[in-house]
Amino acid sequence: MRQARTYSGILSGGISGRTGPHLLPLARIKKIMKKSGDDVKMISGEAPIVFSKACELFIEELTQRSWMVTMRGKRRTLNKEDVTSAVIATDIFDFLLNLVSDTGNSVEAAPLEMDISKSS
């Protein structure tokens, strides 16, 4: 049985309030990577680690942007439409546009900048 690692001991409970690293399961990430294309090359053992962190940052950013939409609507529950709005409003999330519109949502979710013209 492994000794409790100093690393996780220090980070839990937090310097920054975070409860430690959340490594997403590397095997699962590797699986998704392999399915991402037809001729995916071999994946080094370290690549999923990099992905794990990148995913974390991605989710954090998407969550944060979605939450800003929620706040603007003066609500305390983050819902699917908020996520959709965040995706639409962010350039680098363009690759998600199909995904968020596929989920059966009405794609009338207007980009945030266009709201003004609607009020009469």
Partner: protein, 156 residues
């Protein structure tokens, strides 16, 4: 509890564990905020799509430099190309940290098995020391684990 959440799309046989994802999501938000279930699911799907995107680009980068294995630097390049350049620094730091950790694990032996608990300060100091040692070792190019006799036996 199902280890895998089937998200309903044919391509996504593998998805990410809901519990871990939920944790990450909740940490970003004030404690009293709730996340609708379908919003959670959508966030997870977006993450999988993100992996797909970066994977494809990493694959391209790898092709271009004519390597056969996708390595971390290909992934970092992909992030930059796709507009996620601001992630690079943190991602790289986490990667380095993980390497150190792995090195620490292979050093486990005398140091940690005495069972005595260190105070947090001592542990931090110890970790800093090992970090610096490991970095020096990496920079020097020698990857051999530390000998207990502490005589570096490099031929000069």
């Amino acid at each position: 509890m199902e280890p895998m959440d089937i998200v309903g799309k044919s391509k996504e046989d593998a998805s990410l564990p809901k519990a871990t994802m939920t944790k990450i999501i909740k940490e970003m938000l004030p404690p009293d905020v709730r996340v609708a279930r379908d919003a959670q699911d959508l966030l997870i799907e977006c993450c999988v799509e993100f992996i797909n995107l970066i994977s494809s680009e990493s694959n391209e980068v790898c092709n271009r430099v004519e390597k056969r294995t996708i390595a971390p630097e290909h992934v970092l390049k992909a992030l930059e190309v796709l507009g996620f350049g601001e992630y690079i620094e943190e991602v790289y730091a986490a990667y380095e940290q993980h390497k150190i950790e792995t090195m620490q694990d292979s050093l486990k032996g005398g140091k940690w098995s005495n069972g005595a608990e260190m105070t947090e300060e001592e542990a931090v100091a110890e970790q800093q020391r090992m970090f610096a040692e490991a970095r020096a070792r990496m920079n020097g190019g020698a990857v051999a684990p530390k000998q207990p006799d502490a005589e570096p036996s490099l031929e000069s």
